[in-house]
Symmetry: C2
Subunit: 556 residues, 2 copies
């Protein structure tokens, strides 16, 4: 059963080369084009998605009941129900499936993973619809981030897993010279890759596929069985994914329960019972710091826990070689998916005395207004706003915009905007506030959603200090700085790196601090409270399996 591995060998080799060089590479075209994905792919997927609405999701899967209460942030209930098994049923089915999967060769397992990635790619339009109507992302983003970019992250994890497993030789002849003309000691040794056990992947509501795939595929490739626990508000994208996994597993002769879907409801969550279960050996978690901490503290003894939690991302403005370019770039970063990306900036630290720019000196107020104006321009037209901002995934985010607006000093007020054809869409344009560095009561906490602060600091040094301090105490996934002074950029690079923050410098064009490219950017450093792991590096996969040796004296 090595045909999948052979079929996708070139894709794997491309990924292996890419993760080593970390230059640009992608296996999955990001353009939602009929020329690439088939002329009818878009319409077919939309029809398929519509056919799901209000019906039981068809899937041969353990579990006697059906659950599901997803609502599209674009304004309608999905009304889809999914097979739901108890924690005990999930664990039992996963354990039964384990032996066959664990004893498959590395190539067979990796081949199955590659085939799954390949089939996910063919369903990119379907997954785009599913992601759009659970996360609330705009369609193109749902296609790219939920489809090809997520598939690339999956492939990246498979490549690392293959690389790490391939490092363990299958066998070796050990021959130790002996003194005094004696024959050498000779041993024949073999090593087996032994998986950890059951892996649980806990998904989030904003990036249900992108954030779940790395852990899922890293665990799967290394021989573990996987239980995918979607956020109760974003089940469909992972249900489609799990169904594809199960199809491929079955075709390859494995028990499809190697990958299971653990569906629950917000009122009766199963995540805690899964995480604490003594048979669970690996947990991949994306979600809030509060629950992340609970997972880290309560996972079964000895379980490996990989988290992406959250943080407070900052931009530091020291000076600008293109004031307009800077303002536009920042505005786009604030607007994209209404600030609901883990990589989106929240705080923009600006010296109180203003900054030097290509347009001359700009006061603090001029900088703040420049950014606010660029946001207004960007989201001024409703159709453009919808395509950029999307919708708010949860009511809690909408409420947060209101609460913060009542407390903070306004710079740009948030307001709902109309989405043509989606009357119930939950929308809000970006809210921007001004703050003083000395009062971190609001900007000093994560304010998830379309909420940002232009924060006045004594100088650039204090701006960097505040950004780095927040990264160390609250976590940060991204940082950004604008400066025409190389010494300032160097200092920022040192300081942000030491705090485990990936830094972007002087972004003014078509790259935004929010973007994290598979095969090139390490997503999350694992070195501050925003998460304890990186998607994806060697450390993310190397401990998901163990090597066990068998040795015997060699025949003479």
């Amino acid at each position: 059963m090595q045909r999948f591995f052979d079929a996708h060998r070139a894709m794997l080799d491309g990924a292996l080369k890419a993760v080593a060089e970390r230059t640009y590479w992608s296996a999955a075209p990001e353009v939602p084009s009929g020329k690439i994905y088939g002329e009818t792919a878009k319409a077919d997927a939309e029809a398929a998605f519509k056919a799901y609405i209000g019906k039981p999701f068809e899937m041969d899967h353990p579990g006697g009941r059906r659950l599901g209460k997803e609502e599209s942030p674009w304004g309608f209930a999905l009304g889809i129900t999914y097979p739901s098994a108890s924690v005990d049923e999930l664990i039992a089915a996963s354990r039964r499936a384990a032996t066959g999967w664990a004893s498959a060769s590395v190539e067979v397992r990796v081949g199955v993973c590659l085939e799954i990635v390949h089939r996910l790619n063919r369903q990119s339009f379907l997954i785009a619809n599913a992601v759009q109507h659970t996360s609330g992302q705009p369609f193109v983003m749902a296609f790219q981030a939920g489809g090809p970019h997520a598939q690339d992250r999956a492939l990246e994890a498979v490549a690392y897993a293959y690389q790490e497993m391939a490092k363990v030789p299958a066998k070796a002849r050990w021959e130790k010279p002996q003194g005094g003309g004696q024959e050498p000691l000779r041993m024949d040794k073999q090593w087996r890759i032994v998986p950890r056990g059951i892996a649980v992947t806990i998904g989030c509501s904003t990036f249900p596929t992108w954030n779940s795939y790395p852990g899922m595929f890293a665990s799967l490739a290394t021989g573990n069985t996987v239980i995918v626990k979607p956020h109760p508000g974003a089940i469909l994208p992972l249900a489609i994914t799990v169904r594809i996994c199960r199809d491929v597993l079955k075709e390859a002769g494995f028990d499809p329960n190697v990958v299971l879907l653990g569906v629950d409801e917000a009122t009766a969550p199963i995540s805690k019972d899964l995480v604490k279960h003594p048979n669970v050996a690996i947990v991949d978690f994306t979600g809030s710091p509060a629950f992340g901490r609970w997972v880290r503290d309560n996972a079964a003894r000895g379980a490996q826990v990989y988290t992406e939690e959250a943080g407070v991302n900052s931009i530091v403005i020291d000076s600008a070689s293109s004031f307009q370019g800077m303002c536009s770039n920042i505005a786009f970063s604030l607007a994209l998916y209404s600030g609901q990306m883990c990589t989106a900036p929240q705080n923009i630290f600006v010296p109180r005395a203003g900054i030097d720019t290509d347009e001359g000196h700009k006061s603090f107020d001029e900088v703040a207004r420049g950014i606010a104006g660029a946001v207004e321009k960007l989201v001024g037209k409703p159709d453009r706003a919808a395509a950029l901002l999307g919708t708010l995934q949860s009511e809690a985010t909408a409420a947060r915009v209101k609460t913060v607006s009542e407390k903070a000093k306004p710079l740009l007020a948030s307001k709902p905007y109309e989405v043509a054809g989606s009357p119930g869409a939950r929308t809000a344009t970006p809210a921007i506030f001004v703050a003083e560095a000395g009062d971190p009561s609001l900007y000093g906490e994560e304010q998830f959603g379309p909420i940002s602060f232009v924060v006045a600091t004594a100088n650039t040094r204090e701006a960097i200090d505040k950004a780095v301090e927040l990264a160390r105490t609250k976590g940060a996934i991204t940082g950004s700085i604008y400066s025409t002074n190389e010494a300032v950029l160097d200092e920022a690079a040192d300081r942000f790196a030491a705090a485990g923050v990936n830094l972007s410098c002087n972004l003014t064009g078509g790259i935004f601090v929010n973007q994290s490219a598979a095969f090139s950017d390490y997503h999350v450093s694992g070195a501050n409270p925003a998460g304890n792991a990186c998607l994806t590096d060697a450390a993310f996969v190397a401990n998901r399996f163990r090597a066990v040796g068998i040795r015997r004296p060699a025949a003479a």
Copy 2:
């Protein structure tokens, strides 16, 4: 300051090749020969060691007081005192030393590590004396395990660290094609290796260097500062080691406090305060499961913890192609360093109905007596006994031999033996007992020291079941099986591997189950309670540092 790296490049390359192939390789000759280490090396080291006795150990090191109450298990007090700093002083000094070390290049840091390994090798005779008179090992073993073999394990860790760090490219040009005849998006990216912080290595009393070096060197090479916390009964080998580390660091222009010695006394231990300290980011621990569990549960939030704890190692006897060879081989394994190796077998499971051998059928009693007789023969002469058994490191082990002897059914009684010239040596020949598989009250727990059990089972299947069950519940580092039946060997391989136990098959010659060869055998699987980590594999080093990126638009 890359001269150390350049000087030892061939040694590093040899180690990198060896860990990939896992065939026989060694950088440090294990023969305690004057031809290799210098004709006067042995005598010089003995004189140097004697000169330490009863005096303050000379070392420029933080700490206002002096501590040290080591006693040689060979029968005399060392009376050496060491500089001792408080936990706060150690942490403060370590933090001050951190920045310079973290910002050194990978090559410079790895070069410093290689130079330290090289200098440790030149001091192998001195370290042998120090290990002998703290662990109680016989001299040749103290030389080999404490010197060259430990140095090889250190080098192995450095090689993995180099390999993992080298995987992260220093920089890359990212160039993403754009459609419609537009210029590609171009970014220049750099990545920095960022260490975790302060690493604490907690040493043990039986293998003070061998078990400490992998964690120490893995942390050091990856840019962390290291506090070495020796067992209060085995300080000298690590004090010599740390002094060499500090000498090399100083010569290379670094703050010597990059490596510190945390000396304490049994009555006022500092390990817990170190492990809990919020600045401690990595803990490497070798010791008891009880304290190991405490360390795992109480290490500072987010700290990486790597443990080697303990377990119950088993031999399963199904049948034998050389009954004498088997008995001799097992006897040697039981006798070597009086069973005080973490790899030494404790339980020998034998079918109650006996086994088939090259000498015909042997009853259970004949097998038990065969092994006991081989032990008696091996340790019958006091001078040979001393060279093989060494002494008992602690009074607790001596007491355990007595306690178990009062409860268990005797097969071979333990007795003290005389060591010429060492009247106070703490000695005991191996005690062997017989037991029934159904009564695990004694054999089912780790009985550390020269204590073993020949356990009667219903059949080979039950023997494997019991061995594997103990591995899963109590941990096991090694397993061993004797069988002339390939199907039995295959089943054992599957079962032991699934329980994370490295298995040796049919050892009858000059290789013993206790032996774990650097660059070839992965020591501890990390997949059962005997330890959560392996010395050394990629997973042991890959998470001791993080990669952080800095990106900016490329100049056109």
